[in-house]
């Protein structure tokens, strides 16, 4: 027997090691610190922060969230304290924990992405960047970067050149071909892909006949979208060689295992943090016991092992 048993949950993504494949998803764990009272941040693979922009943003008017069957719609409006305040006020505290830190970054132009990255480059203890490309590109008619593989590639390429840190590109499910999107950002130099962001949805108050969200439409998340997310991961795994991080409705260890089997190297827990704050911890524990009961020396041996025979 191995005298120094390795951590069976350890994974590596583009040269960076993570204690386990369970991360918290952007926008569902604040800047990580608010979670510290509820879960053990030392036992989390990584924290993806709320989306950060070069300058702080106020966010949308209320209402910003609506519950739906099996999920919720949100239109927070990317409210955030800005990259600078994150580096100065949050990062030093966050670094005290073992969880790796992955700032989620966005902009309304390619230049704004670059500005945000440049500010974050001044911070230490950042393991990778996650680019949210689902926000509108104001220089291209307000269509989301994610809706056009060329725009998605352009952002990726620019950011890739601006940092030595790994760049994870977060894909949107609101496209005709997730494979095409994945291939485009792989060619543009992405180190990994995370998927999926929310699906665009809507809800109407039948008494007032107004949209329930002040922003009219919003992003659908939660268990409702899990089958869509899993399909996207499966399709991306077939299209590119990059490591994938699965997101979408993951709330239990069974959910996480499905994504790993489909081809994800790690998973992010999003909406589940809201209704079950310890979900990520339960998944970490669940994966550990899965490895034990299934005699897996490493969870890596499970990744992409879907049986299509």
């Amino acid at each position: 027997m191995n005298p120094l048993p390795e951590n069976p949950l350890a994974i590596e993504i583009t040269g960076t090691s993570f204690a386990n494949p369970v991360w918290t998803a952007s926008g569902t764990c604040g800047y990580g610190l608010d979670m510290a009272e509820l879960i053990d941040l030392d036992r989390l693979g990584a924290i993806c922060t709320k989306g950060l922009s070069a300058r702080p943003l106020p966010g949308n008017a209320p209402w910003r969230i609506v519950e739906t069957h099996g999920g919720m719609l949100n239109a927070i409006g990317l409210q955030n304290i800005g990259a600078r305040a994150f580096v100065e006020e949050k990062l030093p505290q966050l670094r005290r924990y073992q969880a790796r830190i992955v700032p989620n970054v966005f902009g309304y132009t390619i230049e704004e992405y670059l500005e945000a990255i440049e500010i974050l480059e001044t911070g230490e203890g950042i393991s990778a960047y996650e680019l949210n490309i689902s926000c509108p590109n104001v220089k291209a008619g307000g269509e989301s970067f994610a809706n056009d593989p060329r725009q998605a590639a352009a952002v990726t390429e620019t950011v890739r050149r601006a940092t030595r840190r790994p760049v994870i590109v977060k894909l949107s499910p609101n496209v005709t071909s997730i494979a095409e999107a994945a291939i485009a950002v792989e060619a543009a130099g992405a180190d990994a892909l995370s998927l999926i962001n929310t699906a665009v949805g809507m809800s109407i108050d039948i008494e007032t006949r107004k949209p329930r969200l002040a922003n009219v439409t919003g992003g659908l998340s939660g268990p409702a979208i899990k089958p869509i997310a899993l399909r996207c991961v499966f399709q991306a795994a077939r299209a590119v060689r990059l490591p994938l991080i699965g997101i979408g409705g993951i709330a239990t260890v069974e959910d996480a295992l499905e994504f790993l089997i489909a081809g994800a190297s790690a998973v992010q827990v999003g909406t589940a943090n809201f209704y079950d704050p310890t979900a990520s911890m339960k998944i970490v524990d669940g994966l550990a016991s899965y490895c034990q009961t299934h005699r897996l020396s490493s969870i890596r041996d499970l990744i992409g092992t879907i049986d299509l025979s």
Binding site: G30, P58, W63, R64, E67, Y275
Partner: protein, 242 residues
């Protein structure tokens, strides 16, 4: 503390997903030392329907205590006017109790759509006596017909000039709080308002529960979280959309 809340839902139920915010209604300690807490809710939608299906012995998932609380010190040497509307009233019960303990004089204005929506009325009567409670219902089925803000307003108008200004504590739906804010601003009376907002997490991470609060920022306000910066805000801090 009075004004704080918990996020609750039945254990191992699949739907609805999100927990519901519920103000602590009553709390205490059983003879055996076990702490208990009581919530009072009105069955409105999916979340409260699910709670209503629970039976004795069933478990709930609960996260709390959450949020800030009413500042009962503000009522020292003054009369406290409590204004509760619909599902907002339960949040005032603990406050009423602690104000009474501090010897504060207080008066309660309870409103609701109909008699059955005067949440906690019997308990409040026991605590305060009927004579200190003014009720108003939209349909006139109990107390005055109309908004609960009407008796509040006329009470404030009839206060003797020389009397020390009272302090208002209010909890209820947005339109009621908006009216209260207008009334207290006009009467120059300080008020603490406990807001309701749709909440996904209740502990500060989703930023879904935003409310505009006046500050020095360019737009004149910025968004704060009802769950962690509130639910209680000073009335003059709030920025009401026009």
């Amino acid at each position: 503390l009075p004004g704080q809340f918990a996020m609750i839902r039945p254990r191992s139920l699949y739907e609805p997903l999100l927990r519901r915010a519920m103000a602590f209604y009553r709390v205490g300690r059983a003879p055996d030392g076990q702490r208990w807490t009581e919530f009072l809710y009105q069955i409105l939608g999916r979340g409260t329907q699910a709670l209503a299906r629970l039976r004795e012995g069933d478990e709930v998932e609960l996260l709390g205590s959450l949020g800030n609380s009413f500042d009962s010190n503000a009522a020292r040497e003054r009369e406290a006017l409590l204004v509760g509307g619909g599902t907002g009233s339960p949040a005032l019960y603990l406050l009423a109790g602690s104000l009474l303990e501090q010897g504060v004089r207080l008066r309660l204005f309870l409103g609701g759509a109909s008699q059955g929506d005067l949440c906690g009325y019997p308990d409040f009567v026991q605590l305060l006596g009927e004579e200190r409670i003014h009720c108003a219902t939209d349909d006139g089925s109990w107390g005055d017909r109309g908004f609960v803000t009407a008796p509040l307003q006329s009470y404030l108008e009839r206060l003797p000039r020389e009397a020390p200004l009272p302090v208002v504590y209010a909890c209820g739906p947005d339109p009621m709080l908006h009216r209260v804010a207008g009334i207290v601003a006009h009467a120059n009376v300080p008020a603490q308002l406990s807001l309701e907002a749709p909440m996904a997490c209740g502990y500060g991470v989703c930023v879904g529960c935003a409310v505009p609060v006046r500050d020095g920022s360019p737009g004149g306000f910025s968004y704060r979280k009802v769950c962690t910066d509130g639910p209680v805000f000073w009335s003059d801090q709030l920025h009401w959309p026009s």
